[in-house]
């Protein structure tokens, strides 16, 4: 029998054993999080722990902002006021037209016995910070489940769509920008109504994927949301086509677009509630495909 004397200093398991244990745990968590999204509850609990830290870390920035705001000169305020007045005059003119158009539109829809579009509720939120994750494009906003935010809601600014709420914490939520590589947005070309799906590309650009080389897309075409998925209201500006590379060697054209909205600049955003009066998805498609279709975000492995 091999007898070993008890160790003088008990130090627990060897470092290599500990490393193996924790690495296995981390890999398990990553797989659960990335592939199956099972780790959401754990994330919520840890995020709640990190929340006070996040709030405290935001304080210096807020303080600086408040101080800078206090010392804003009267001249710049006056200038801004004049600019805003001019803008409002312009907007009022357009508003009058919009009102007339809206009533006309409602009447036409009634004539067509179409389903009337309900006005969506919206929540004003402020971007707290950009996630310190260089691999994805996400921002954290200051409204969460307590304020009625739900995952899947669209987020817009004054110029167009900036993204979609992907995770909701009790007091914060995480918005994946349309420029994220994993984010897809259903769009439509304004000029000819061509439907497509736009993907996040490199360096804050967007890419219109899986369009045939002969598809009718031109440079400077404006892309708006198609509204087919029920997540985004139709007609919100998303992007503008900046460059088209057509190569006969590939079956698809490479179409690069620039987002319309200030995805990286703005602080105030609007979170739109989801439309609830959607018709149920067709039953046949479900039984044939085996699982319900996911139009808004499908995870693909490249």
């Amino acid at each position: 029998m091999d007898y070993q004397p008890p160790p003088f200093f008990s130090r627990g398991p060897a470092p290599l054993v500990r490393l193996g244990f924790f690495v296995c745990l981390a890999v398990l968590l990553m797989v659960l999080d990335a592939r199956f999204r099972y780790a959401e509850h754990l994330r919520q609990v840890i995020a709640l722990l990190a929340y006070p830290l996040q709030r405290v870390s935001l304080a210096p920035g807020d303080l600086f902002g408040a101080a800078a705001g206090f010392f804003t000169t009267q001249v710049s305020l006056k200038q801004e006021n004049e600019q805003l007045k001019a803008k409002q005059l312009q907007a009022a003119n357009e508003l009058l037209t919009v009102r007339a158009l809206r009533s006309e539109n409602a009447q036409l829809r009634r004539l067509l016995e179409a389903r009337e579009r309900l006005p969506r509720e919206s929540t004003l939120a402020e971007i707290l910070y950009q996630g310190r994750d260089p691999f994805s494009r996400k921002v954290i906003i200051d409204k969460g489940r307590q304020q009625g935010i739900q995952p899947g809601q669209a987020v817009i600014d004054d110029l167009g769509v900036i993204g979609q709420v992907t995770r909701v914490y009790p007091l914060l939520s995480e918005v994946t920008l349309i420029t994220d590589k994993e984010q897809r947005t259903p769009v439509q070309v304004v000029r000819n109504g061509l439907r497509a799906i736009i993907y996040g590309g490199d360096r804050g650009a967007l890419e219109l994927s899986y369009m045939a080389t002969n598809a009718d897309v031109l440079a400077d075409d404006v892309l708006v949301t198609s509204g087919i998925d029920g997540t985004y209201p139709p007609g919100l500006p998303v992007a503008k086509v900046s460059r088209i590379e057509q190569d006969a060697a590939y079956s698809f054209a490479k179409i690069t677009c620039v987002p319309t909205a200030g995805t990286e600049q703005n602080r105030q955003v609007l979170v739109l509630s989801r439309e609830m009066n959607l018709p149920a998805p067709p039953v046949e498609a479900e039984s044939v495909a085996g699982k319900p279709p996911k139009p808004k975000r499908s995870r693909t492995r490249e």
């Binding site: 990335a34 840890i46 995020a47 830290l53 210096p60 950009q130 996630g131 310190r132």
Partner: protein
């Protein structure tokens, strides 16, 4: 300058509360609302390395792993990505702690640079496997800046453990 040439001071024992406080401070730094600043030093990784090198019996792989989870949840990153990298970092730092302490601060920084770069490589590999985009070479600049901060940070973190220099004729050391 080698270990024998420089005067060594006898330090007071490190307090666990102080170690936790410095980690929280580093977390605060990392969670500051940095907009699009590239090449930010990862202070949490630096402080973890420091305590793993100086107090390997009080700081270890488990704590590093948990701090990594907090980083992941706070940043909305893939859950477990920082935990994975920090666990490796802590393991490497604990196993190298006897060697690293023999060197002068700047040579220690060279060791730390290798450790930090390796942990960033791990994180990059994990994210590329999980389907992320390559963030550019500027991503690695953070490790160089953090390593350059090592002498300052280790001086500051050791301050509470130093005792005032008092000349006592009767004291043996």
């Amino acid at each position: 300058m080698s270990f024998y040439e420089q005067p060594q001071r006898i330090l007071l024992p490190a307090k666990v509360g102080y170690m936790a406080f410095t980690l929280v401070l580093a977390l605060l730094f990392n969670l500051l609302p940095w907009r699009d600043v590239t090449g930010l030093p990862d202070m949490v990784a630096l402080v973890l390395t420091f305590w793993c090198v100086h107090q390997p019996r009080k700081m270890g792989i488990g704590i590093a792993w948990f701090v990594g989870l907090v980083m992941d949840a706070g940043n909305g990153a893939l859950l477990g990505q920082h935990a994975f990298a920090y666990a490796f970092l802590a393991f490497a730092a604990v196993s190298l702690h006897r060697r690293i302490l023999w060197f002068s601060p700047w040579r220690q920084a060279a060791h730390v640079l290798v450790l930090l770069l390796a942990s960033q490589m791990l994180m990059l590999a994990v994210r590329l496997v999980a389907g992320g985009v390559f963030p550019g070479l500027a991503y690695f600049a953070g490790a160089f800046i953090a390593a350059a901060l090592w002498p300052t940070v280790s001086f500051l973190l050791l301050l509470p453990q130093r005792r005032p220099e008092s000349v006592d004729e009767n004291r043996p050391i």
